[in-house]
């Protein structure tokens, strides 16, 4: 049974994203060709809804043949691997950023404690709280769970 047009379109987008991650020219060409096949079949299936069932059914076998390469388990797994590597790099960057903001917050708190003058002390604590908020926000993006105010990131 053929996948739904939405699924094929989603796959086409992922194949296009994967093209951008690959440097090997032949693999880039292969992934781009699969992306086009997926997008075309999605478009035809969608428009096929408006045509007779007879026309639609007559084309199913042809679509399945065209999609065989793109829907091959190994090819799809490779695309997911390529995109997962990219996600890992982005997540690590986000984690590093959260840690840096957390460290800034701690430094500013330590500096604040060296100031006896109340307004300077207060200003530094406020800046520290802002950095802490940024750290929590970044950490929340990584874990998918926003941290409560005052809870430490990292």
């Amino acid at each position: 049974m053929l996948p739904k047009p939405d699924e094929l379109r989603g796959l086409s987008e992922r194949f296009i994203q994967a093209v951008e991650k690959v440097t090997a020219i032949e693999l880039r060409k292969r992934l781009a060709a699969h992306a086009l096949t997926l997008a075309q079949v999605a478009e035809q299936l969608e428009r096929g809804d408006l045509l007779s069932a007879f026309v639609h059914n007559a084309n199913v076998e042809r679509y399945e043949r065209l999609l065989a390469g793109a829907l091959d388990e190994e090819t799809r797994a490779m695309v997911e691997r390529l995109l997962a590597e990219e996600d890992d790099v982005a997540l690590q960057k986000q984690r590093d950023q959260a840690k840096w903001w957390q460290m800034r917050a701690e430094e500013l708190r330590a500096t604040a404690n060296q100031f006896a003058e109340p307004s300077a002390h207060e200003m530094l604590l406020r800046a520290a709280a802002n950095y802490e908020q940024l750290a929590n926000h970044a950490e929340g993006l990584v874990t998918g769970k926003p941290k409560a105010r005052g809870e430490k990131a990292g």
Binding site: R9, S12, E13, I16, V19, I25, R28, K29, A32, A33, A35, L36, T37, L38, A39, Q40, V41, A42, E43, Q44, R47, R62, Y63, L66
Partner: protein, 126 residues
């Protein structure tokens, strides 16, 4: 904006997923692609007569691919045109023949499009 001539493929398709996929495919093959979401958008951009090639869909809202071919041929008799459509009805086939264009029926094999574009640009560059 003046569009660059020679090996440029002017791609016109309102369906974004197909347009994006064609652009990426042709770019990985080394072609320079400028894409448009509508025929009107394409016609508004000035370009050198006879250079590059056009790849256009037929069923588009507003100005159709058939109207686009007609408008192009009034001014430019030589630019190669590749028509891509899922519904190659008689009117489309007739218009393609009259415009001396090439017809590809969706879903076509990506290698077929690459081959047609290569041929078209070879002819276009003399």
């Amino acid at each position: 904006l003046r569009l660059p001539p020679q090996s440029t493929v002017y791609l016109i398709d309102d369906h974004k997923p197909v347009r994006d996929a064609i652009r990426v495919l042709l770019e990985t093959e080394g072609f320079s692609v400028i894409d448009f979401a509508s025929a009107v958008e394409f016609l508004q951009c000035p370009r050198e007569i006879g250079y590059g090639c056009i790849v256009t869909d037929i069923q588009m809202p507003g100005m159709s691919g058939l109207q686009l071919i007609e408008a192009v041929r009034v001014r430019d008799k030589i630019i190669p045109i590749i028509v891509i459509t899922g519904h190659p009805v008689a009117a489309v086939r007739r218009a393609v023949e009259e415009a001396e264009a090439t017809l590809l029926v969706k879903p076509f094999a990506p290698a077929e499009l690459v081959a047609q574009v290569s041929n078209a640009l070879r002819g276009s560059m003399g």
